[in-house]
């Protein structure tokens, strides 16, 4: 059984992942044409590259179908219940940084903090007859964050794309979304709450606790850890 490493299958995330491993003496490359989702890794015996959509990698790690995986920490923490019981964080990789934040219309001059948002949610519900809607695709992260902060009278509505446009389109009153520079927020007349940082995300290398850790897979991981200077995780 080889050590299966899941990496993002396209775009900047894939390029940066290949560069990260390349800088540590491990050459990853896509095999065949650019459209083929398989690849190889040179310089590491007993390892196999699996190219996957970054959003599928948490699920594959959870199921143990891959031993290692590279994806955003936002996706792992949002998609996996008790994420740290399912995967071990091996290394933050220094790219793909983005903040999951809560934003409201810039014209809401009376709202700068979660405390304001909570007060406005109560008043909004009384006036409009329904809860203040927050559009997001990060339900678990946002719900846990707001519950921890004691914010009430809101509801999450699912938004799979163009989340910043939901307020203008009247399908939400606020949003919780990933931003790196804040430009899209400003262009859509939104502002971030001062204490509205839900999670600081970064591309991260994870190990799956549920994977089949055969002696061969463990040996390949030990080799990889030595080559990259990582501390191998305690695995079952």
């Amino acid at each position: 059984m080889t050590l299966k490493i899941g990496v993002p299958s396209k775009g900047r995330l894939m390029d940066r992942t290949f560069a990260w491993f390349g800088a540590r003496g491990l050459t990853m490359r896509q095999s065949g044409s650019e459209r083929e989702y398989s690849g190889s890794i040179d310089g590491l015996d007993g390892a196999e590259l699996v190219l996957l959509s970054a959003s599928e990698i948490p699920r594959e790690l959870s199921a143990g179908r891959i031993h290692l995986g590279v994806t955003g920490s936002d996706l792992v923490r949002d998609r996996l219940a008790d994420w740290d019981m399912q995967v071990a964080e091996l290394a933050p990789m220094g790219f793909g940084q983005a903040d999951l934040i809560i934003a409201v219309p810039a014209a809401w001059i009376d709202v700068d903090t979660l405390d304001d948002l909570d007060a406005v949610a109560a008043a909004f519900r009384a006036v409009h007859g329904h809860r203040l809607r927050i559009a997001t695709k990060y339900h678990r992260l946002v719900r846990d964050f707001l519950a921890g902060q004691g914010v009430a009278d809101y509801q999450l509505v699912d938004s799979l794309g163009a989340t910043e446009g939901t307020v203008k389109n009247l399908t939400a009153e606020a949003i919780a979304d990933i931003t790196s520079t804040g430009e899209t927020l400003r262009a859509n007349h939104l502002k971030t709450l001062f204490d509205g940082l839900v999670h600081r995300s970064e591309a991260t290398l994870y190990a799956a606790r549920a994977a089949d850790w055969t002696p061969a897979a463990r040996a390949a991981l030990a080799d990889l850890a030595r080559r990259t200077g990582l501390v191998p995780p305690a695995l079952p």
């Binding site: 008790d82 219309p105 810039a106 809401w108 001059i109 304001d116 007060a119 909004f124």
Partner: protein, 370 residues
């Protein structure tokens, strides 16, 4: 949970036994649908329940929910066509998503009892508690009690603005936010810098002018709503803080914990300085007499003023639970008074109500344990 649950047949038999015992008291057996319209439940509990309940889509009836508890359907049924007073019992599955890895069940049986009665609330409270106490007596569970009504009365009696009281009342069930609000209203913590900057700008500009400068107005919340809140913030900044004395009394109240007679004496002490809680403390005293009359050893009954603050937010009076000596177990039984809930669901009508549920799965596990 460390113990393996007994098999379904044993749990069902335990549920039947408890249910029969409730029926023998004269309670009317009622049924509730398993598939409930999600609207009323979501409106009541919001995201807390959405995260915990199985929500599904029906092509005709819209968003539906697998029954997360019986209280809401039983209250709705009573408010629609119940005679008064009424005593109901029920038994059936409830469904709760578990978002943590572990052995907590996402489907389990509940057996419950609810009393709807306008007269003698202390007697009804005692009746519900004593009934559960009797049914569970062989298991030697640890009871816990509290009274949300005392804390609610204390907040209503504060000498501060209605807006502040409403904010505190809304967060009685979220202790961390409640604490942050109280500290701010009492001047123990400074307002956030962003608030101070806004208040500063509102001294020279109108809310309308500030909004105009902030950018185009988008979304359902109107400029009038924003302006109204901006003005309420100015008003609030001019209101005097909650006095240190009152804030300290509230702290004292929240810290009350001990055997019921000592807790009562302590609360009577506090009531001398905080007279708004006197009627609620009186009800606590009446309840203890009613419990003693039903054979409960009130001298040893634990009472905690903050018990019930982190449960679902509908209990507004007496609250109780029974705990097994097992780490990680939820309460074996729990319940309380929920007068305000009947008003929310009663479309203009309301009736005082108290009740609770037992988890026969846990009872059966305890009975099977060596």
């Amino acid at each position: 949970m460390p113990d393996r649950l007994p098999d379904r047949a044993a749990i069902r038999a335990e549920a039947d036994r408890l249910f029969s015992a409730l029926q023998e008291t004269g309670a009317q057996a009622v049924e509730a649908d398993i598939l409930l319209p999600a609207g009323a439940l979501l409106d009541l509990y919001g995201e807390d329940i959405r995260a915990r309940a199985y929500v599904t889509q029906d092509p005709i009836r819209g968003e539906m929910m697998l029954r997360p508890d019986f209280t809401v359907p039983v209250v709705q049924m009573h408010m629609a066509h119940g005679a008064e007073p009424a005593r109901y019992c029920y038994r059936g599955e409830v469904f709760r998503k578990q978002d943590h890895i572990g052995a907590r069940a996402s489907e389990y049986l509940q057996v419950g009892y609810e009393v709807f009665a306008r007269e003698a609330p202390a007697t009804a409270d005692a009746e519900a508690f004593a009934l559960f106490h009797r049914l569970l007596a062989p298991l030697e569970l640890r009871p816990a009690t509290g009274d949300m009504g005392i804390l609610l009365a204390a907040v209503r009696g504060l000498h501060t603005t209605d807006r502040r009281k409403a904010a505190l009342l809304r967060h009685v069930w979220r202790p961390a936010r409640f604490r942050a609000l109280l500290d701010r209203f009492a001047g123990r913590t400074a307002p956030p810098p962003a608030r101070l900057r806004l208040l500063d700008r509102l001294r020279s500009d109108t809310p309308e002018a500030l909004m105009q400068a902030a950018g185009p107005f988008i979304g359902l919340r109107t400029p009038e709503e924003v302006a109204a809140r901006a003005r309420s913030l100015i008003e609030d900044s001019a209101a005097p803080p909650v006095s240190h004395r009152e804030a300290a009394l509230l702290d004292d109240l929240l810290a009350v914990s001990g055997a019921a007679p000592e807790a009562l004496a302590r609360l009577q002490d506090i009531a001398a300085s905080l007279p708004s809680i006197a009627p609620a403390v009186g009800r606590f005293s009446d309840r203890l007499s009613a419990l003693a009359a039903l054979g409960i050893d009130t001298a040893a009954l634990p009472f905690q003023a903050s018990h019930g603050r982190s449960t679902l937010e509908y209990y507004d009076g007496f609250v109780f639970s029974f705990h097994a000596d097992r780490p990680d177990w939820p309460p074996v039984a729990s319940g309380g008074r929920y007068d305000a809930l009947t008003a929310v669901l009663g479309q203009g009508r309301s009736i005082p109500a108290v009740g609770g549920v037992i988890r026969p799965g846990l009872v059966a596990a305890l009975r099977a344990a060596p």
